[in-house]
Amino acid sequence: MESNWAADNLRIIRTLMERSAIYRRALAPLMFLAGSLGTAAALIGWFARVESPRAFVGFWLAVAVLTIAGCFLLLRRQALRDAEPLWSTPTRRVLQALLPALAAGLICSTIALFKLGAAEQKTATIVGLFCLPLGWIVFYGCAVHAAGFFMPRGIRLFGWIFILGGCGLFALGSPEAPRPPHYAHGVMGLFFGALHLAYGIYLFCTEKRKNET
């Protein structure tokens, strides 16, 4: 009897500490949304021939804004469903952790968007279609890894995949492909599309299992 309430108290303490410290929103739907938009954008960019470096940067910035807006709406829906505040302490911490790396990526992209128009064709292609996409991947990996300190385990590994993948492709160098835009859209689709979908499936299976137990 005495042990029951003691165990209950310990369980309550654990739940409350998690609620206070760990970001608990279901990430699988967010990953599915981001992955679907990333894959669709890569296909659209590829087949609609979004090929000039400036158009490429503008196109993917628009996709990023759309994805962020979609994720926000999903999070809001989850918070309303659980009758919890959207702007909770864990949410604030996660956003604060995400912000520096994402802001750096946004600032670099905006500068590139303005400067690429005046740059030589070859320079613009290398910067816009090779350096920037890989930079985005690395920045995004850093952001996810930083946010991972306030999220369930596993997300930091996801961040590392982006960091190492982006750096690895950078080390391999710009391919002598006949169509650099295809390479750029392909890389973006792989990292921001396929990888998110794969992680979404993994999370969906593990979160479902956790809910069942």
Partner: protein
Amino acid sequence: MNPEPFLQLDRVIHEKGRLAIMSLLAASPQLAFTEMRDTLNMTDGNLTAHMRTLQESGYVSVTKEFQGGRPLTTYSLTAQGRKAFATYINLLEQIVQQTKSTK
């Protein structure tokens, strides 16, 4: 069964509402009054009363400041509060273990 751990439980923390407050604060460097009220579904009066008890025991410190022209009250655990909370959890674990071993 040895009643010793039960008798040692800190009565200030053992109350349900204050235990919840201590748990939230133990996992966070500081929390605003409104955040705790919303998370714990407590009324302003209830939370204020519990916070006063915890402050008087030296377990919680309060900071009052203005943010964007509006008053903001934040709370955090003191070193004494953190120690008392850790002791409380240890005692609970002892009680659970003791019962398991006597079964």
